[in-house]
Amino acid sequence: MMYGPVHGIGDVSGLSTKHVVLGLLIEQPGYGYDLHKRVETRFGFLHLSESFVYKTLERLEREGWIEDYKDKSVGGTRRGAPRVMYRSTESGRQQFKDWRATRNRRAVLRDALQAKLGLTEPDGLPELLEEAEAQAADCMAELATLRRPSLADAAGAEVPWHDAAALMGDDLHVRLLQAQVDWLDGICELIEDRIERSS
């Protein structure tokens, strides 16, 4: 299995954005722009660009997991042509089922700063401190991008499942940010202390 880092938080094991888009199409057929909106609302943490969603749709179609059809009932494009709509195929639905049934390993964290800590001599500590402080600021900036209206109403109506799922996703994301902020905060204090004592 290949790993790739995401947002500098950690690595994601086997996260397949293809299956996310496929799953949304199984829920409900749609066209590119509409799918990107749905991805943003429900899986904002993926930070998928619109062009990436279009590319994913092309790839899914090549795989035969989805197919396009023209639907005149869904508001046309600017030039008045019918929208190219996508829907899942039988083989796509089977693929999705298999993906959902596959267990993923937990995501692992591989942080560059963690490695640098062990490889920095005392004279390099000021730069390390700056980097750690900048990363802490980045965490707070990332939090700002996740802001959204509250999904639960104080009066107490039941929160729909998809909203609850989005909350749980955000919760993981923000808890990882918090772990990182707290860790950075702690090491900044220690590094600062070392710098002060050595000067």
Partner: protein
């Protein structure tokens, strides 16, 4: 627009035996009407001190705290007490001093002197139901869940019709959905009620609904975060499925 609350270069130090403990260092912060500002900090980072100084319960060692343009240090004790009775609502999950009180009375107490018990309780009920805690009206503090206690504490502050809410750790011990409810309620107090809301929490997920989030670290308040230019350090997903 003039800020409702302004902290300018506020420092706060305590003497702990022979040592001076500097809890807040050069903290500046504005809260405008209709704005919900969140302070994130780990335990013992100085959050509660910051809130107490901001609300005028403690004087700063240095710097100024002004409410609606007036320096709090210049106010008489009476004037300050009135401010706390009417304009600045302090929210903390402390509960009533007398354990026998039912919540409709507890929430009504701040109004007893001004409007009398009957009207005070009527308004208390209205606020309790507005915050989603109507069920707690006839209950005692000891029988309430953490969520209900938080909602009652918010109601007890809101009943005064304050212009500023200062909220200390409202989400401790709450699950995801209840946390969402409580913080959403504070945000709508700001957006719909036009209040300034200042909240401090040691829990980053509780910050999701704040308009501005500041991080308190080692007594210093970090500058407000600018969103990253490209959505952060986003890189390839496995199998290079992702375009740059």
């Amino acid at each position: 627009m003039q800020p409702l609350l302004r902290l300018e270069s506020v420092s706060k130090a305590y003497m702990r035996g022979p040592r001076e403990l500097r809890v807040l260092k050069d903290v500046s912060l504005d809260v405008h009407p209709g704005e919900f500002v969140g302070i994130y900090g780990q335990r013992a980072s100085g959050k509660t001190t910051l809130l107490r100084v901001a609300a005028g319960f403690e004087p700063p060692s240095d710097g100024t705290v002004s409410f609606d343009g007036t320096d709090l240090a210049g106010l008489s004790r009476n004037r300050r007490a009135r401010l706390h009775r009417e304009e600045i609502g302090w929210v903390e999950r402390a509960g009533p001093q007398s354990a026998g009180l039912v919540m409709r009375v507890y929430v009504a107490l701040p109004l007893y002197r001004t409007v009398g018990p009957v009207e005070a309780q009527r308004r208390a009920l209205a606020v309790l139901s507005k915050v989603g805690a109507a069920d707690a009206a006839d209950a005692r503090w000891s029988s309430l869940s953490d969520t209900a206690r938080t909602l009652v504490a918010i109601a007890e502050a809101l009943v005064r019709g304050p212009r500023l809410l200062v909220v200390d750790d409202p989400t401790a011990g709450l699950g995801i959905i209840d946390r969402e409810r409580v913080v959403g309620l504070l945000r709508s107090a700001a957006e719909d009620g036009g209040l300034g809301v200042l909240m401090a929490v040691p829990d980053l997920p509780a910050m999701l609904h704040a308009h501005e989030v500041r991080s308190l670290s080692r007594g210093r308040l970090l500058a407000p975060a600018d969103p990253p230019p490209s959505g952060g350090n986003v890189v390839e997903f496995p199998g290079s499925e992702r375009s740059a």
